[in-house]
C-alpha cells in the first residue's frame, strides 16, 4: 500500500459498496451522490465542566494587545474581565503556540495553528455562572434546578437539514462524569426548554451504540437485540391497532408509535448498510483500549473524543458534543496529575502554585485531545474536496465561564477548522470589548449565531438574554 495514500470517506464508502454487493451498493451510491451534491457541515462542541481559565489560551501577542488598553496589566492574573479597557475589538495575529495550553496546536503532528483561533471577551451573565451553568453555556438561556431554559446550539444545528443530511444520528453526545455509576448526563444539552438531550457517560455504552454493530460478537448481539426489540414493539403496536376503532385520533396515536418504530428500524437498517464503512472507521474497542473503563476522567475523555472523531469520519453524524464533568457533575478527579478532586484543587489554587499548574495541565491535555481530533480530520480528505477539518467547526469552551466560581463574565474559547464553511480562524486571537464597552460588547449567544451563519439556514436570534441582549446576530470578525 502506498504509505502516502489516505482513504477519503468516499473511498471508504466505495470500498464498502464493492465488498457488500449490489443490494447494498445502491443506497450507498445514492448516499455518495447526495453527499457530493452538497457541502458537508459538521460541528463539534468540546465542553469542560466548571470551565478553564482564560490565561491558558492567552498568547504573548494577545497579552500585549489587551494590556495596552487595560486598567492594569494582566500580569499573573488568571482572568481579567474586570480590567479590560478597549472599546473596539482587538485582533492579535499569530503566536497561539505561546499560550500556556495551546502548545499541542504546533506540536505532535502537522501544525494546526493556521486552523485555530482564540476568542476572548464574550459574556453570558444570563446563564448565572457559578460552578456550572448547566445547559446555559450552549443555550444562552438560564438553567435552574436542572431544567434547561431552551435548546442548546448543538440541538439547533443538528435539527437543520443542511447539517444532518442523511446521517443516522442527528447528534452524538458523549461525556465524562465524576463517577462511573452515572450513565447519562441530562444537564448539558437540550432539545428545548425542559427537554434535556443526554450525554452518554459510559464510553463502552457509546461504543456499542455507535459501533457495536460491527464490533465484537457480543456487541453485535446487543445491536441485534435492539433491532429485535424494535421488531417486537412494532408487532405489539400492530396488534394493538386491531383492538382500536378503524379511524380516529386515538388510533392515530398508536399508528404514530408504530411509525416511530419504523423510523428507528430504518436507522438500524442504515447502520447495517453502513457496516463496512463503520468497520473501516471503527476505533479500537473497550477490549483493546483500557481508557474506556479507566477510573481517570481524562482517559475516558480521550476515549470519548476518539469515538466522536470516528463518528464523524464514519458519517454517523455531523454534530458531536463531548463533555467532561459538565452539567454540574464537575467534581471529576485527575489521577496522575494531582491527587485531590477538582473542587479542592480549584479552591486551593489561589495559594498553591502546584494546584494552579495542575489546573492548567488539565486544559493542556484536553487541548491535546482536541488537536488529535482535528489532525485526524485534517488528514481525511472530504467527499467533495478539501479536508474534513475544512468542513468541521470545532469549539472548545467551558460550561460556566472564566473561573471556578464564575460570574459568567467571560467565556474563553478555542476554535478550530471550518474554513470551507466560512469560519475565519487564521491563528488569530479575537478579543471583544468587555461589558464596560456597552453596545460594543458581545455575548456568547453571538458566537452561537455565528455558527448558524455557517449553515444554509442562518439564524440571528439564538439565545434568551431578553433585555440583557446587547446585539443580535453573528460576529463578523469570525466570518470569512
Amino acid at each position: 500500500m502506498n504509505p502516502r495514500w489516505r482513504p477519503t470517506r468516499r473511498d471508504i464508502l466505495r470500498a464498502a459498496g464493492v465488498s457488500c454487493g449490489g443490494a447494498i451498493l445502491a443506497p450507498l451510491a445514492s448516499r455518495i451522490a447526495s453527499a457530493e451534491s452538497d457541502t458537508p457541515r459538521r460541528f463539534v462542541f468540546v465542553i469542560e465542566g466548571n470551565g478553564f481559565e482564560p490565561v491558558t489560551m492567552l498568547s504573548t501577542a494577545a497579552r500585549a494587545a489587551i494590556d495596552a488598553h487595560a486598567s492594569a496589566p494582566i500580569g499573573d492574573a488568571r482572568w481579567w474581565y474586570d480590567r479590560v479597557g478597549h472599546a473596539s475589538t482587538l485582533i492579535a495575529e499569530g503566536g497561539l503556540e505561546t499560550a500556556p495550553a495551546l502548545g499541542a496546536l504546533a506540536d505532535g503532528g502537522p501544525s494546526l495553528l493556521s486552523h485555530a483561533a482564540v476568542v476572548f471577551g464574550l459574556s453570558s451573565k444570563i446563564v448565572g455562572g457559578g460552578h456550572s451553568a448547566g445547559h446555559g453555556a450552549l443555550s444562552s438561556a438560564r438553567t435552574v434546578a436542572g431544567v434547561a431554559g431552551g435548546a442548546t446550539i448543538d440541538a439547533r444545528l443538528a435539527s437543520l437539514d443542511s447539517v444532518r443530511k442523511a446521517a443516522p444520528f442527528d447528534a452524538v453526545r458523549l461525556g465524562v462524569g465524576s463517577s462511573l455509576a452515572r450513565s447519562l448526563d441530562f444537564g448539558t444539552c437540550a432539545y428545548g426548554k425542559g427537554q434535556s438531550a443526554p450525554l452518554l457517560l459510559h464510553p463502552t455504552t457509546a461504543y456499542e451504540l455507535l459501533f457495536g454493530s460491527v464490533a465484537s460478537a457480543e456487541s453485535a448481539l446487543a445491536f441485534e437485540r435492539r433491532g429485535d426489540l424494535l421488531d417486537f414493539g412494532a408487532a405489539d403496536a400492530q396488534a394493538a391497532l386491531a383492538r382500536l376503532p378503524a379511524a380516529g385520533a386515538e388510533r392515530a396515536k398508536v399508528e404514530a408509535y408504530l411509525a416511530s418504530f419504523g423510523e428507528l428500524s430504518k436507522r438500524h437498517a442504515r447502520m447495517l448498510e453502513l457496516a463496512p464503512t463503520l468497520a473501516a472507521a471503527r476505533p479500537p474497542g473497550p477490549s483493546e483500549d483500557p481508557r474506556y473503563a479507566s477510573s481517570q476522567a481524562l482517559e475516558r475523555f480521550a476515549a470519548q473524543v476518539r469515538l466522536a472523531t470516528a463518528s464523524l469520519v464514519a458519517g454517523l453524524t455531523n454534530v458531536c458534543v463531548v463533555g467532561c464533568g459538565t452539567g454540574g457533575d464537575f467534581n471529576v478527579d485527575y489521577e496522575g496529575i494531582v491527587d485531590v478532586d477538582r473542587h479542592t484543587l480549584h479552591h486551593g489554587s489561589g495559594s498553591n502554585a502546584a494546584y494552579r499548574d495542575a489546573i492548567h495541565e488539565v486544559t493542556r491535555r484536553q487541548v491535546a485531545e482536541v488537536a488529535t481530533m482535528a489532525r485526524t480530520l485534517l488528514a481525511t480528505p472530504d467527499v467533495n474536496g478539501g479536508t474534513m477539518l475544512d468542513h468541521t467547526a470545532i469549539v472548545y469552551v467551558g460550561d460556566n465561564g472564566e473561573q471556578h466560581h464564575s460570574q459568567a463574565r467571560e467565556f474563553p474559547m478555542l476554535l478550530l477548522g471550518g474554513s470551507a464553511l466560512g469560519l475565519r480562524t487564521g491563528g488569530r486571537t479575537v478579543v471583544f470589548p468587555g461589558e464596560g464597552a456597552g453596545d460594543a460588547h458581545r455575548q456568547l449567544s453571538n458566537l452561537w449565531n455565528t455558527l448558524g451563519h455557517l449553515t444554509c439556514e442562518p439564524f440571528d436570534d439564538f439565545g434568551q438574554e431578553g433585555p440583557l441582549r446587547v446585539a443580535e446576530g453573528a460576529l463578523s470578525e469570525l466570518l470569512a
Binding site: D236, R243, V254, Y257, L264, P467
Partner: protein, 823 residues
C-alpha cells in the same frame, strides 16, 4: 357545505336585508343570484382574525359584535357595511384607517393584508352568498363558552366523555419502574424519561394527539435498560450496581411462584415449567408494565418471546439475567405500558351507544386522579421505603391497593366506594407525610408540614396556579425595593433566595414546596371544618416557612471571630455551619427574619397587612414575575387572573405586530410607571390605544400586586420622580370583569384577594379548571350537568376533596363514547 343553501333556507329576508346589496339610497335589494368567491374569503377572515383570534366571540361581555361564521351569516354586520361603498363602511374603516380608532384587529401596526379583499368585497356588493366555505377552524377554546350556560344543567344530557388512550406522563413512568420523581437517587436516570406532556397542552393530564415520536422513542431507549431492573433477578441487589440496581418488591421478591424463573427450569416438569413462565409473564405485565389484566394476545406475545429467549440460553445459567432483562425491556415497550386505555366496553341497552370504563380502566383513571403510581405497582420492601401510615404500607396488592381491590370485586363504580377510596388516599394531617414516601430524602421530612394532599391533587394546584416556575425563574437582585435592599443585607438576601429556589444547601423546603404545604393545609382544614376551600385559598395567612435557625447553633455573633471554628457568623447574627450562610435568610422573602426549628414553629401566620391568600405567596409572585424588579410583572400576573380566574382568553402575542417593548429601566420609574409609559400613555406611545386593546385585560388585574416585587418580596419603597423613593402602591381600578362585584377600585392585592374570594365567576372558573385537569380535557356545553354537580358539592361541603369525588362518580368520568374526539 353549501352555506348559501343554509343562508337562504333559514331566514332569507331577515339575514339578507342588513347586509344586502344596497342601491345608492341604501335600500335593500335581492341578494345576487350567484355566489361570490370574495364572500367566502371575507367570512373566513372575520372568523379567524376577529372571532377566534380576537375578541368578537359569543358570550364575550366586552363586545356586542360577534363575528364568527354563524353570526356573520346571521346578519351581525348589519349597519357596519354599506354595500358598494367601502369608505363609508364602518367595518372597512376600522380595519384600514387609524383615525377611526385603534386598528382592528387589535395589535396591528398596519392594516392586515386581507383588508384589500374586504374592500373589494364591499365594493362588489357585500354579498354573503358563499358556495364553498371551508370547514370551521379546529381551534377550540373552552373560554369561549357561555359562562352561565356551561353550568346550566336544565335539560337532561347524555353525559359521556370521549374514549381515549392516554400516554403515560413522566412521573407515572418513573413510578412504574419504582423510582423516585423528586429525589434523584444516585445512578437512577428513570425520572429523566422523555414522557413529559407537551407544553402546548394546558395540563399534564391532557392526552390529545400525544404519542411517541421517533425522538421520544430514541430517548426512551436510553431509559429503558433501567425499567426491568426489579424484575430480572431473584434478588435485584445482588451483583448489580449503578443505574441497573432495582428494588426488592413486595409480592415479587422471594415469591415462590415467581422465583422459579430465576432457577434451573430444566429441572422442572413440563407442567411446572410452563406454569412458572405463565406466572412470571402475568406478573410482569399485570403489575410491572400494563397495570391491568393483560389480554390473551399480549400474554401470548410476551410469553413466546420469553420462551424463545430462554431456549437460546442453551443451558447457560449466566444468561438468565440478561434474558429477563431483555424480555423486561420488551414488556415496557408494549403499547399497554405507555398508553392507558380509557376506551370502555359497550353499555348494554344504551341508546346513545355509550361505553363504560372497565374496572381496570376505572382503577387506573381514578388512581391517576389521586397520583401517578400505576395501580398495583409493587412497593419496595425496604423498611424505610414507606411509612407505617402509608395506605399501601402492608399491601400485597401494591400501590393504590384499595383501588385494585375495588376493581377486582367490581365495587369501584359505586359512589359510596369512591368516597371510601378518596378517604384513604385524598390526604389529611400526618407528620409522617406518606405522600413523600420513596420520593424525598427523609432528612427533608421534618421541614415539611404535617398536612398533605394526594399527589394528583397537589399537581392540579401546581399547574393551575402555575407556580413551579418559581424555582427556575431568574431573579436579578431578588430583594430589590424591599426592606433588605441595603448594602448590608442585599448579598445575603440574594443567597437566601437562591437557596430557597434550589434547596441546594441544608434540608429545609423550597419556595415551591412551601406553597405546596400551605395549600395542603388550606385544602385539608377547609374539608375538616366545612369551610369553602376557594375562599380559604384566596385568603389564608397560615403559611409554611423554612426554618432560619436550623443550621445555626448560637450564640449571637457580630462576625466570624465570635464563633467557634469552623462555624461562622450567619447573616441572621447567630453562629452556624457554612450552610447557614445560605439558609439563615431564606424567610426574608416573607418579611420574616427568624423561623424556629419545629413542626409548629415553621407554621407562621403572616401579618394581615402584608399577605393574604395564595396569590400573595412569593412562589406564585415569583413564578409570575419578571427577571428584574422594575419588569412588567403586572402583565404576567394580570394575565393569569384573566385566564385562570376569569376563564377568559387574552389574545396571544403572535397576533401583535406593533413593537411591544418596555422603555429602558430608569431610577425614577417604578415597574408600574415603566408599564404605563411604555403601553398606556398616548403621549409616550402612539400605539397605546392599540396596545390597550389587550393590556386593558391584564394590567389593571396585575397592578394590585405591585406592592410586591418581581421575586415576591414586599416592597418597602418604590421608585419616584428624580429617583426619590416613594411608597409602593397597589391601587387599581378593576374593569372589564366578568361580574359587577369585581368591578371598581382596590387598594392593593390584600383587598383584591377578598374581592376574588367572594367572586362567583372566579370560583366557577376554579371549578372549570379542576374539571379540565382531572378529566384531562376541555369542558364543553355537554358537561354542564357534571360541572353543576361539582359546584353543588362545593356549595354543600366547601371541600375540594368532595368536589373532585363528585366528578369521579359522574357519568362524564365513567362513561365514554366513540362518537366524540378528545378536545
Amino acid at each position: 357545505m353549501r352555506v348559501r343553501g343554509f343562508f337562504v333556507g333559514v331566514s332569507l329576508v331577515g339575514l339578507v336585508v342588513p347586509l344586502a346589496n344596497c342601491d345608492d339610497s341604501g335600500t335593500a335589494t335581492e341578494p345576487p343570484a350567484s355566489t361570490s368567491p370574495l364572500a367566502c374569503q371575507v367570512i373566513q377572515t372575520l372568523e379567524q382574525r376577529c372571532a377566534l383570534g380576537g375578541c368578537h366571540l359569543p358570550h364575550n361581555p366586552r363586545t356586542a359584535l360577534v363575528l364568527d361564521r354563524a353570526a356573520v351569516l346571521g346578519g351581525a354586520l348589519a349597519g357596519h357595511v354599506v354595500a358598494g361603498k367601502p369608505d363609508e363602511s364602518w367595518l372597512y374603516r376600522r380595519m384600514s384607517d387609524r383615525s377611526a380608532g385603534p386598528l382592528m384587529p387589535l395589535g396591528q401596526a398596519a392594516p392586515i393584508p386581507e383588508v384589500d379583499t374586504i374592500r373589494a368585497w364591499i365594493a362588489e356588493g357585500a354579498s354573503l352568498a358563499c358556495d364553498a366555505l371551508p370547514p370551521p377552524s379546529d381551534v377550540y377554546d373552552p373560554n369561549h363558552l357561555d359562562p352561565e350556560g356551561v353550568f346550566a344543567c336544565e335539560t337532561p344530557t347524555v353525559d359521556a366523555s370521549p374514549a381515549r388512550l392516554r400516554r403515560v406522563e413522566r412521573r407515572e413512568w418513573t413510578h412504574a419502574v419504582v423510582q423516585s420523581v423528586d429525589d434523584p437517587l444516585i445512578g437512577s436516570t428513570a425520572r429523566d424519561n422523555p414522557f413529559t406532556t407537551p407544553d402546548v397542552l394546558p395540563y399534564s393530564t391532557y392526552a390529545r394527539d400525544v404519542s411517541v415520536d421517533p425522538t421520544t422513542l430514541d430517548l426512551y431507549f436510553l431509559a429503558l435498560p433501567e425499567a426491568p431492573a426489579s424484575w430480572e433477578a431473584a434478588d435485584p441487589w445482588a451483583g448489580a450496581a449503578g443505574y441497573s440496581r432495582g428494588h426488592r418488591l413486595k409480592g415479587v421478591y422471594k415469591n415462590a411462584e415467581l422465583n422459579c424463573i430465576h432457577g434451573d427450569l430444566t429441572a422442572l416438569t413440563d407442567e411446572a415449567r410452563s406454569a412458572c413462565i405463565d406466572n412470571y409473564v402475568d406478573a410482569l405485565l399485570r403489575r410491572g408494565t400494563l397495570a391491568r389484566t393483560p389480554t390473551v394476545d399480549e400474554q401470548t406475545r410476551l410469553r413466546e418471546l420469553l420462551v424463545a429467549t430462554l431456549d437460546a440460553e442453551k443451558g447457560d445459567a449466566s444468561k438468565r439475567r440478561p434474558s429477563l432483562h431483555y424480555v423486561g425491556q420488551a414488556a415496557f415497550l408494549m403499547v399497554g405500558a405507555l398508553f392507558r386505555g380509557e376506551l370502555g366496553e359497550p353499555l348494554a341497552g344504551d341508546a346513545a351507544d355509550r361505553r363504560r370504563l372497565t374496572a381496570d380502566e376505572m382503577a387506573l383513571a381514578l388512581g391517576h386522579m389521586l397520583g401517578s403510581h400505576p395501580t398495583g405497582t409493587p412497593v419496595p420492601t425496604s423498611v424505610s421505603a414507606l411509612s407505617t401510615t402509608n395506605p399501601d404500607y402492608e399491601a400485597e396488592l401494591g400501590r393504590m391497593s384499595s383501588l385494585r381491590a375495588a376493581a377486582d370485586d367490581g365495587t369501584i363504580f359505586e359512589p359510596s366506594k369512591i368516597r371510601e377510596l378518596f378517604a384513604i388516599y385524598q390526604g389529611g394531617q400526618d407528620a409522617a407525610r406518606p405522600d413523600l414516601d420513596h420520593e424525598e430524602n427523609e432528612a427533608n421530612y421534618p421541614a415539611r408540614g404535617d398536612f398533605w394532599i394526594a399527589e394528583g391533587m397537589l399537581q392540579f394546584f401546581r399547574e393551575w396556579l402555575d407556580y413551579e416556575g418559581a424555582s427556575s425563574s431568574f431573579k436579578d437582585t431578588p430583594g430589590g425595593t424591599s426592606e433588605y435592599d441595603t448594602p448590608d443585607t442585599a448579598s445575603a438576601t440574594t443567597s437566601g433566595f437562591s437557596n430557597l429556589q434550589s434547596g441546594r444547601y441544608g434540608h429545609e423546603s423550597t419556595l415551591v414546596e412551601q406553597l405546596d404545604d400551605t395549600i395542603a393545609r388550606a385544602v385539608v382544614e377547609s374539608h375538616q371544618l366545612g369551610e369553602d376551600v376557594f375562599r380559604t385559598l384566596m385568603t389564608t395567612r397560615q403559611w409554611r416557612l423554612p426554618s432560619t435557625v436550623v443550621n445555626t447553633k448560637g450564640p449571637p455573633c457580630a462576625n466570624d471571630d465570635d464563633c467557634q471554628p469552623p462555624d461562622g457568623c450567619a447573616p441572621n447574627g447567630l453562629c452556624g455551619t457554612s450552610i447557614a450562610k445560605n439558609t439563615a435568610t431564606t424567610a426574608r422573602v416573607y418579611g420574616v427574619e427568624i423561623v424556629e426549628e419545629s413542626l409548629a414553629g415553621r407554621w407562621v401566620e403572616l401579618p394581615d397587612d402584608q399577605r393574604r391568600g395564595v396569590l400573595t405567596h412569593p412562589a406564585w409572585l415569583a413564578a409570575h414575575g419578571g427577571n428584574f424588579e422594575d419588569d412588567a410583572s403586572a402583565v404576567h400576573r394580570g394575565r393569569w387572573i384573566r385566564e385562570r380566574l376569569f376563564c377568559e382568553t387574552v389574545p396571544g402575542l403572535e397576533l401583535v405586530s406593533v413593537e411591544a417593548k418596555l422603555v429602558p429601566s430608569d431610577p425614577s420609574l417604578s415597574a408600574r410607571a415603566r408599564l404605563v409609559t411604555s403601553v398606556e400613555d398616548p403621549s409616550t406611545n402612539p400605539d397605546s390605544a392599540t396596545c390597550m386593546g389587550c393590556h386593558l385585560l391584564m394590567n389593571p388585574l396585575g397592578y394590585p400586586f405591585e406592592i410586591y416585587n418581581h421575586a415576591g418580596f414586599l416592597r418597602a419603597f418604590d421608585h419616584g420622580p428624580m429617583g426619590t423613593p416613594v411608597a409602593p402602591s397597589g391601587a387599581s381600578t378593576i374593569t372589564l370583569a366578568p361580574e359587577s362585584s369585581l368591578q371598581g377600585d382596590v387598594s392593593s392585592a390584600l383587598d383584591f384577594a377578598e374581592v376574588l374570594a367572594d367572586s362567583r365567576s372566579a370560583r366557577r372558573c376554579f371549578i372549570r379548571h379542576a374539571f379540565r385537569y382531572f378529566m384531562g380535557r376541555n369542558e364543553t356545553e355537554g358537561d354542564a350537568c357534571a360541572l353543576a354537580a361539582m359546584e353543588a358539592s362545593l356549595d354543600a361541603t366547601g371541600s375540594f376533596f368532595r368536589m373532585v369525588e363528585t366528578l369521579a362518580a359522574s357519568d362524564v368520568f365513567q362513561l365514554r363514547t366513540l362518537a366524540q374526539e378528545d378536545r
